[in-house]
Amino acid sequence: MARKDSKLTLAQKEQRTAYRLLIPALVILAAVAFYPLFEVFYTSFTNRVFASGTDEAPDFIGIENYKSLLGLTIQEMPPVIDTETGQPQTDASGKAVYERAVRVLPRTPVRYREWFQFSFFGKRYVVGARDPEFMKAIWNTLVFTVVSVFLETILGLGVALVVNSNFKGRGVMRATMLVPWAVITVVSARIWEWMLQPTRAGLFNMVLNRLGLGDGSLSFLSSPALQMPTLIAVDVWKTTPFMALLLLAGLQLIPRELYEAGRVDGASKFRQFFSITLPLLKPTLAVALIFRTLDALRAFDVFQVLMGNRMYSMATYNYYQLIGNRNMGLASAIGVIIFIFIAVFAVIYMRFMGVDKE
C-alpha cells in the first residue's frame, strides 16, 4: 500500500484526500436528497395508496400513471344535423350547433375528458385530455410563473435602485421593505383572503366600491376572470422584496468609479443604466430569476390557501391527488413531472443567461 502511494505524485495524493473528505457530504446528500428522490421516482411507477393501513406491497404498473396524466387527443366535432331538414342545426344567433364534446371523445379503452375547443378552417375541434385538470394546473402554473416573475423583476429592480441610492432613512427603508417577504406565506395569504372577501366587509371591495368601481361584491377568489390576477398580485406583493434584496446585493458590487467615468465621458443617467448597471447586474439577475422561477413553478401555499379546490397549481394538484384521493403513485408521478419542468427551466436559464460560464 505504502509503495503504491509513493508512486503517486503530490497532486494525485491531494486529490485522493479530497475525495475522502468529500465522502461524508456525499453520504449525507445521498441520504437526504437522492434516496427520497429515488423513492418518488420508484413510487411513480406503482399504484401505491396513501395511508392504506396495510403492509402489502403496491403493484408495479409501468408508466401508466404518466399516461393517465399526460394523455391527449384531438377530435373533430361533427355538426348536429336537423332530422327534418337534413341541414346542420344553428342556434338562435345563427352559429352552427355541434355534437356535445362528451359524446365525441373516446371512452374506451380509456376515457378522454374535454380540455378546450377551438375552430380551425371552419371546423370545430375538441382537445381531450385524460386528466384535463392536470393540464389546466400546468397551464395555470406557467401563466402564474411567467407573469409574476416578470412583474417581480421589474418592480424589484426599481425598488433596488431606489434603496441603493443615498437618502436619509435608507437603513430603515431597507429593513421595512422586507416585511412582506418575512411573513409566512400561509399567514399572509390568510390576511389577503380577509381583505379580498366578496362582501364590503373586505377591504378591496370596500375601497373599490367607494371609488365607484364594482358593486361591492366582487368575488376575487371565485370568478374565473379575477382568480389569476389576484393570485399574481398577492405573489408580487410578497416576493418583490426578495427580488429587490438579491438585486440590491448585485448593485452594490458595481464599482462607483465606473459611474464616475461614465459621468466624465458625458453619459446620461439613462445611458449609464443600460451600459453599466444592466450588464454588470446580469449574473445577479440570472441567479435571482432562476430562484424565483423555480420557486414559482412549485407554488403551493398561495394557491392552496386562496383557491383550495377551485383552481390548482401543479403542486396543489399533487397535494389533492395525494391527500384527497390517496393516489400516492399518481401523486409521485406529478412530483416527477414538476421536477422535470423545473430542470428544463433551469437548463434554459443557464444556457440563455450564460450563468455556467461566469
Binding site: 396513501f50 395511508a51 392504506s52 393501513g53 396495510t54 356535445r100 364534446a101 362528451v102 371512452r107 376515457r111 375528458r113 374535454e114 372577501q197 366578496p198 362582501t199 364590503r200 366587509a201 361591492g216 361584491s217 366582487l218 368575488s219 377568489l221 371565485s222 370568478s223 374565473p224 383550495g308 379546490n309 377551485r310 397535494y319 389533492y320 391527500i323 384527497g324 384521493n325 390517496r326
Partner: protein
C-alpha cells in the same frame, strides 16, 4: 425507616409514571366546538388526575382535516389518540381505528341512534362512537318575514320569491343585504348542500344505496340550474367561496334573510354578540319537485387510533366524551344534536333548543351521503361531485355536459352501473 423510604420512592416513581399518560384529541373548531371539547377534557381530567388530555385544533374545512389525519395515519403516528371523525369517514378509515366493542362499548351502544351506530360499524367492529349528529336546516328571519307579510317558505320557489322581496326592500337601507346564504365553496359542504337540492327534487342521491350511479338525470339539471340562477341575484357571487362560518358571518351580522346551515349556529345566533338574537327561527329545508324537503345527515364521531400508546385510556376518554353528561353539555351550550336518544326528552336540552323537539323528524330522516356504497373511495366520489356542481354554479359549464361527464367519471372510480335519466 429504610423500608419506608423505599416504599415512598416506589410510590413516587409509580405516580410519576402514571401522571405521564397524555392523551391528545384531534377536534374541530367550528363555532364553539373547540371550547366545548376543552371543557369536556377538563371534566375528564378532574375525574382522572393521572391523565392529561390535550386538545388539538384542526382545520375547519372537512377536506383539509382529512388530509391532516391521513398524514398522521400514514406515519402510524402515536401523537394523536382520539380523532373526531366525520360521519362519512368510518368506511374509509376503519383500518386505522380500534374496535370499541373490545373496550366495553357494548354497555352504552344501545343508547345511541341505531342508524349512526350502523354507519360506524365496519365488518362488525364499532370503529367510531357517535358524538353528535347534524342535519341541514333553514334559518330564517322572523322579523323580516313579518315586515314583508311573508310565511316561512316550504318550497324553493317560495324561498326564491321571499328572498327577492326582502332583499329588494332591505337594500334601500342596507346595501350589503342578501336574500339567501349557504355553502358554495368547492368542498364537502357543497356536497351536503347539493345533496339536499337533489333529494328534494326527486333527483336521487348521486349514487344509490344499491350501487347505481343516478346523478345524470333531468331533475338534477333542473334544480342545479335553478341554484345557479341564485348566484348574483339572491345569493352573493362570493357564496362560491363560502363555508359554514362564512355564511354564518353574513347571517349573524343581520345581512341575510335566509341561511342554510347546521344546528350549531342556533345557540350562536341567539348569543349576546349576535345581531339576529330573538329575530330568527329554524325550519326544515324547502322542497322541490318531490314535495318534501331534505336534510343531509352530518355529524361527528370519536375514534381511537390503532397507533395510540394508551388505547385503553383513550377509548375510556372517547366513551366519556360521547357519554350522556358531555353530550348534554354540548347540546345545551352549543346546540349540537345528541346521538343519545334519551337526551331529546331532557327538559334542559329541549328548553335550550326547542327545535330539537319540533324538528325531531328532520334529524331522524336525514339523507345520508353515499359513503357506505362507495367506501373506501367516498372522498374521491364526493370531490368529483362538488367540483362538478361548483362548475355548474359558477356558470362556466353547461349542466348536462357536466353531469354526463361526472357520471362517467364516477363509473371509472367505482365501476358501478349508470342509470341515465336524460
Amino acid at each position: 425507616m429504610r423500608k419506608l423510604l423505599l416504599t415512598l420512592m416506589v410510590v413516587l416513581v409509580a405516580l410519576v409514571a402514571f401522571s405521564q399518560i397524555v392523551l391528545t384529541v384531534a377536534a374541530g373548531a367550528v363555532g364553539q366546538e373547540l371550547e366545548l371539547t376543552k371543557q369536556a377534557a377538563e371534566a375528564y381530567m378532574s375525574i382522572h388526575p393521572d391523565i392529561t388530555v390535550k386538545v388539538l385544533d384542526t382545520p375547519d374545512m372537512v377536506q383539509d382535516r382529512l388530509g391532516l389525519y391521513l398524514q398522521f395515519l400514514e406515519a402510524k403516528s402515536p401523537e394523536i389518540d382520539v380523532y373526531q371523525v366525520d360521519v362519512i369517514w368510518p368506511g374509509d378509515l376503519a383500518q386505522h381505528f380500534i374496535d370499541f366493542y373490545e373496550y366495553n362499548a357494548d354497555k352504552v351502544v344501545s343508547m345511541h341512534f341505531p342508524a349512526i351506530v350502523e354507519n360506524n360499524t365496519v365488518d362488525g367492529k364499532l370503529v367510531a362512537i357517535p358524538w353528535f349528529t347534524d342535519a341541514g336546516l333553514l334559518y330564517y328571519r322572523t322579523d323580516l318575514l313579518e315586515k314583508y307579510g311573508l310565511k316561512p317558505p316550504t318550497t324553493w320557489d317560495e324561498l326564491e320569491n321571499a328572498a327577492k322581496i326582502i332583499q329588494e326592500g332591505e337594500r334601500k337601507t342596507n346595501p350589503d343585504f342578501w336574500g339567501f346564504v349557504w355553502q358554495g365553496n368547492a368542498y364537502e359542504g357543497l356536497t351536503c348542500d347539493a345533496l339536499e337540492w337533489l333529494a328534494s327534487n326527486d333527483a336521487g342521491t348521486i349514487i344509490s344505496p344499491d350501487k347505481k350511479i343516478t346523478i345524470a338525470n333531468a331533475n338534477a339539471i333542473e334544480i342545479l340550474e335553478k341554484v345557479a340562477g341564485w348566484i348574483g341575484t339572491i345569493s352573493p357571487s362570493g357564496v362560491l367561496t363560502f363555508a359554514e362560518e362564512d355564511a354564518r358571518a353574513v347571517w349573524q351580522t343581520g345581512n341575510a334573510a335566509f341561511m342554510r346551515n347546521w344546528p350549531y349556529c342556533y345557540s350562536l345566533s341567539k348569543g349576546p354578540d349576535s345581531n339576529v338574537a330573538g329575530k330568527f327561527d329554524v325550519s326544515p329545508l324547502p322542497a322541490g319537485k318531490s314535495g318534501n324537503g331534505a336534510a343531509t345527515l352530518g355529524g361527528w364521531q370519536l375514534s381511537v387510533s390503532k397507533y395510540s400508546k394508551n388505547p385503553k385510556e383513550a377509548a375510556d376518554l372517547a366513551l366519556f366524551m360521547a357519554g350522556y353528561e358531555i353530550q348534554k353539555l354540548r347540546a345545551v351550550e352549543g346546540s349540537m344534536n345528541p346521538t343519545i336518544q334519551a337526551l331529546y326528552a331532557d327538559y334542559e336540552v329541549i328548553k335550550a333548543n326547542p327545535f330539537f323537539g319540533s324538528l325531531f323528524d328532520v334529524f331522524i330522516n336525514a339523507v345520508a351521503r353515499p359513503s357506505t356504497a362507495t367506501a373506501p373511495r367516498y372522498n374521491e366520489v364526493s370531490t368529483l361531485f362538488f367540483k362538478a356542481v361548483h362548475r355548474i354554479l359558477s356558470g362556466t359549464s353547461d349542466a348536462q355536459n357536466v353531469l354526463e361527464e361526472l357520471a362517467l367519471d364516477l363509473q371509472d372510480i367505482t365501476g358501478f352501473e349508470i342509470v341515465w335519466g336524460f
